[in-house]
């Protein structure tokens, strides 16, 4: 049978129409999976909400090692963050480093006494334009509506693109099974919190601004234990305590010039009103 141009176009058109329409029809008719929304729910539970969560780190409140360690422990203990002796395997949600490493480019020839040795507290900056989220191939890391850059551990495939993208070193890869034990037989997670999961070997983890605590109406664990050194609040709410500090004190952010718009601000000197 010979086929002319008109017939060919007709057949092609009908086939395309069926192909496009058919799949929609079939998907529409197919029995949908069970939706979580079909379950009987309680009313909205009280939790902390914001348009964009942020934090101020007031370095004048961290006088000694003890102040800092208390905050780090508060976080790492409740989130089952493992401790690996090998610094190459380190997993951290909140940690410290020197001024020069925290604010590269801001060091000068003659600086305030003691500034260079001061340990600066660092955590995920929960950037407004997070580089990690842009590179994640599985959307395992994503930005929530309230600005928190969150991890969905079930989706993480351990490609570590996010670690390469993050300019702040806020992300840690689990090179070893965090549930394991070191050479001396000590478990990597010193104190297990049964209410929070651990991670597994091969996933990337980081600070989540304690989303599980916010949902219960609690402040993040670090802020709670910081004696006012870490102030957590809504950056978009002009009446928040956070904005009041930003209005009245001189603050800086880490590596602003990169344009990721970090949500963590630092008050460095000027401890006159402490």
């Amino acid at each position: 049978m010979s086929i002319d141009r008109r017939v060919f176009l007709k057949i092609a058109g009908i086939t395309t129409a069926f192909g496009l329409g058919g799949s929609t029809l079939i998907n529409g008719l197919k029995k949908r999976g069970l939706e979580a929304s079909e379950l009987p729910f309680a009313g909205k539970q009280g939790g902390l909400t914001a348009k964009r969560w942020g934090m101020v780190v007031d370095m004048s409140r961290f006088r000694n090692e003890h102040d800092i360690q208390r905050v780090i422990d508060a976080c790492h203990n409740i989130h089952n963050v493992p401790f690996f002796k090998n610094p190459k395997h380190e997993v951290k949600w909140i940690w410290t480093d020197t001024f020069n490493h925290t604010f590269p480019g801001m060091e000068s020839e003659f600086m305030m006494e003691g500034l260079e040795e001061m340990p600066f507290l660092m955590l995920c900056n929960h950037c407004k334009e997070p580089a990690c989220v842009r590179v994640c191939p599985t959307q395992a890391t994503f930005k929530r509506k309230d600005g928190i850059v969150m991890m969905d551990m079930h989706r993480c495939i351990g490609c570590r693109f996010c670690m390469a993208a993050c300019p702040f070193g806020a992300r840690s890869f689990n090179w070893r099974d965090p549930r394991g034990k070191d050479e001396d037989g000590r478990p990597f997670i010193r104190k297990l919190n049964p209410e929070y999961p651990t991670r597994m070997k091969g996933v990337v983890e980081k600070c989540t601004f304690c989303t599980e605590r916010l949902a219960k109406g609690l402040q993040p664990a670090c802020a709670e234990k910081s004696n006012g050194g870490l102030v957590f609040g809504d950056l978009e709410d002009p009446d928040s305590e956070l904005r009041e500090i930003l209005r009245t004190r001189y603050t800086v952010r880490r590596k602003q010039e990169l344009g990721t718009q970090p949500s963590v601000y630092y008050v460095i000197g000027g401890n006159d009103d402490v």
Binding site: L34, A42, Q45, D152
Partner: protein, 134 residues
């Protein structure tokens, strides 16, 4: 048509068929008892209304999908609304929800998972309640 070395080939085929069907001979006529997950944990016994978030048949077939949906709504949408069954609130969580009642992983989860030869990796990260070794 002539089958070269026909005898050898047919003999070989018979041996081959015999070998790959060994599992069927082995288990022929034997019924493996279907798993009976236990529901007699102290928390479940103390419940006034012994009801899960969905009927038994749905839970059996769909619990993995429900867990997936819960994870998406809690982690991705921050929707942590609790589920109310018979006046009792249930948290959308494996570790802090399901396992609070079903505290017997060995006699509950593992029973069917072993029977079906599935190996979910929930427990790589989520804790299971402490239970006596049975």
């Amino acid at each position: 048509m002539k089958l070269y070395d026909g005898g050898k080939i047919i003999f070989g085929l018979i041996i081959f068929l015999g070998l790959i069907t060994i599992p069927f001979y082995f288990n022929a006529g034997k019924a493996v008892a279907p798993p009976k997950p236990k529901l007699d944990t102290p928390v479940i016994q103390a419940l006034a209304v012994k009801e899960c978030v969905k009927p038994k048949e749905i839970m059996r077939a769909e619990h993995m999908r429900i867990l997936d949906d819960w994870r998406n709504s809690v982690v991705r949408e921050d929707d942590r609304q609790k589920i109310v069954i018979g006046g009792k609130e249930f948290t959308k969580s494996l570790q802090n929800g399901c396992l609070k009642c079903h505290s017997n992983k060995k006699d509950f989860c593992d029973k069917c998972h072993t029977y079906m030869a599935v190996n979910p990796y929930c427990w790589d990260c989520h804790f299971t309640p402490k239970e006596n070794k049975s």
